[in-house]
Symmetry: C2
Subunit: 349 residues, 2 copies
DNA sequence: CTGTTAGCGCCTTCAA
DNA sequence: TTGAAGGCGCTAACAG
């Protein structure tokens, strides 16, 4: 450790003024190459590094993004996707010289209090939210207080794509399930069942739509037939198993199943004893280790999109009166990870 | 938003000097009550909040703790425990007015580079590491450069408890497996098998010891018999299933099994078709949703310990010449979460 | 292209 | 108990 060298030390060592050093760092093209090199040499020689707080004080920006760590989901295996998103975000933020600051909250009001605390204390100058809905008090507060933010997930309002105030990035779940279903159909399956969440969740309804469209186009089944191939469940392995049994009872033969989550898929797989292919969603470690196919969200792309929106033209904030020229929303396509099937379960029988 | 009020604004509003405001904030007992109240009123009225960067610049401390987000573990379900630890840490740090800053690294050297960057830039003034070993280059670098840090996990050196330079908090895995094994023995099981990792990992060997000791004391089996009840595997569901089959082949009857991880436990459970009780480790969401017992790490306690060590007497750093009076290490006991058994798997048969 | 000057908002001396 | 200076390390304006 020892005392860190300051910009003055570097200036002295290089025989220039402090300002020139600052220029070398922040506007290199404005300094004559030979001077620049001399300064650079002094910097590396002394091991100088700009003092983050001093810079932030001076520039009035923290270059730090706040993100809330969700409360633990006891059930459901899908908690890990947030983890992976966070990882992607941190990694890419780092490349843009942005830092990620964590916080927790016990509920929406508490979260708003945290927004206030972190923004007013200049700890953070933007937020990333992970799941929001239309009329969410949190986004309303952020918009109202002119805070920069981008959400991972659509607000699921009437007209998301046109909403100029709420920047978001989301994964096209409809497309994902359509692809999964189509894949199963090309494999020879015809009666592909669907295990989803109860109607009402934007995400779940969107994914269901993907299955429905693919089936209408490719299965040759009518709507009445399709209705028996569909069943709703809460998220959880036991719920998935239960749903599978209900599905088999209602539909008679089922050639394959697509699910809105890996937890449900695991349950379905177990209940079916591994006899038919099951496709999950999120491509969690369980899917990988048990060996069933799953729709993977491209979290790197999502993270990149979030950062671009945040650092882009509007800097995550909408300037009133600005024309909506550049995209404020981004919908990325997931991809299907195809796996052979569950060797473990088969072996267990 | 708008411009945040500064300390001067508050001073003007309250009719005092800036200094008095500062005192009200940092040394309230030195200001006359009535003045204090007037200032407090002005603070809340104006919505004043001290500027974090300004304070950090002045005090030369960031009050921020850096933690590396581990690369994603594709296999193994246990990734979520780090998640929960991070959550506990963030929550408790917040109460102490400390912030958690994330970073990622591609490997040990890169991580050291990050240490350097973050510490020299005064972004962070302490680190939390999540898994270290004896002679780990990262801890060596941190010690050498006088950086504050605490690890979650023993260094697994010869004499951990006496090492005065490396502060750590860990979970007593030996105790955890002993408890799990004893529980199974009291339930009536006698031949309790053990599925562990290959010898050599400190954590794994420690947990194995717990099983071994409990069996020696309570099973009435001799060492020769015990040897057939033990099998090693990498971490993963398929590995667990495979291990279970090997175990049954080698040992003949097995009444129950304890495993060093939930992934292994899940595999074992499936291979055994849910016929015998299996106990896992980490109490991950899978254990909860499938419904098997598991040893839970008390991550809240770990987080609390880490922060206490960090903010305690030595502030995470060892002052040379200081007597070793207060504890520099902390070993917390996990607890067994008992569950009925896997209804899903039983039903699937 | 380089140097000088003037703070960013806060806290730590010291004096009153 | 309160007030008046000074400076933490940096960068944005200018002036040379």
């Amino acid at each position: 450790m020892g005392a860190q060298p300051t910009i003055s030390d570097v200036a002295d060592a290089a025989g220039v003024s402090r300002q020139t050093v600052s220029n070398v760092l922040n506007a290199p093209d404005v300094v004559r190459p030979e001077t620049r090199e001399r300064v650079q040499h002094a910097i590396t020689h002394l091991g100088y590094r700009p003092h983050a707080s001093a810079r932030r004080l001076r520039t009035q920006k923290s270059s730090t993004i706040g993100i809330r760590l969700d409360p633990i989901t006891t059930d459901g295996i899908s908690g890990s996707i947030l983890d992976r998103f966070l990882h992607a975000l941190t990694e890419q933020a780092d490349r843009k010289n942005l830092r990620m600051l964590l916080f927790t909250a016990t509920g929406p009001e508490d979260e708003i209090a945290q927004f206030q605390r972190l923004s007013e204390g200049a700890d953070v100058d933007a937020f990333v939210l992970t799941s929001t809905f239309h009329g969410d008090p949190r986004t309303e507060w952020l918009i109202e207080h002119g805070q920069s933010f981008v959400t991972f997930g659509r607000p699921w309002g009437i007209d998301d794509m046109a909403d100029p105030e709420h920047l978001w990035v989301d994964v096209d779940g409809c497309h994902g399930l359509r692809e999964a279903t189509t894949h199963l159909l090309t494999t020879g399956a015809r009666r592909v069942g669907f295990i989803g969440w109860p109607t009402g969740s934007g995400t779940g309804d969107d994914r269901r739509r993907g299955w429905l469209e693919a089936m209408r186009e490719g299965s040759g089944l009518g709507d009445a037939g399709l209705r028996t191939l569909e069943v709703a469940a809460e998220d959880g392995v036991n719920d998935g198993a239960d749903a599978m049994r209900r599905l088999e009872k209602a539909a008679g033969t089922v050639d394959a199943v697509v699910c809105v989550s890996d937890s449900l898929a695991l349950g379905a797989l177990m209940a079916a004893g591994g006899r038919i292919p099951v496709v999950g969603y999120d491509n969690t470690p369980v899917a990988a280790s048990i060996g069933f196919s799953s729709v993977e969200q491209p979290l790197d792309e999502v993270a990149a999109g979030v950062l671009e929106l945040l650092t882009g033209a509007h800097g995550g904030r909408v300037r009133p009166g600005t024309e909506v020229t550049d995209p404020r929303h981004r919908l990325v396509a997931p991809r299907l990870v195809v796996r052979e099937g569950p060797s473990v379960i088969a072996a267990a029988r």
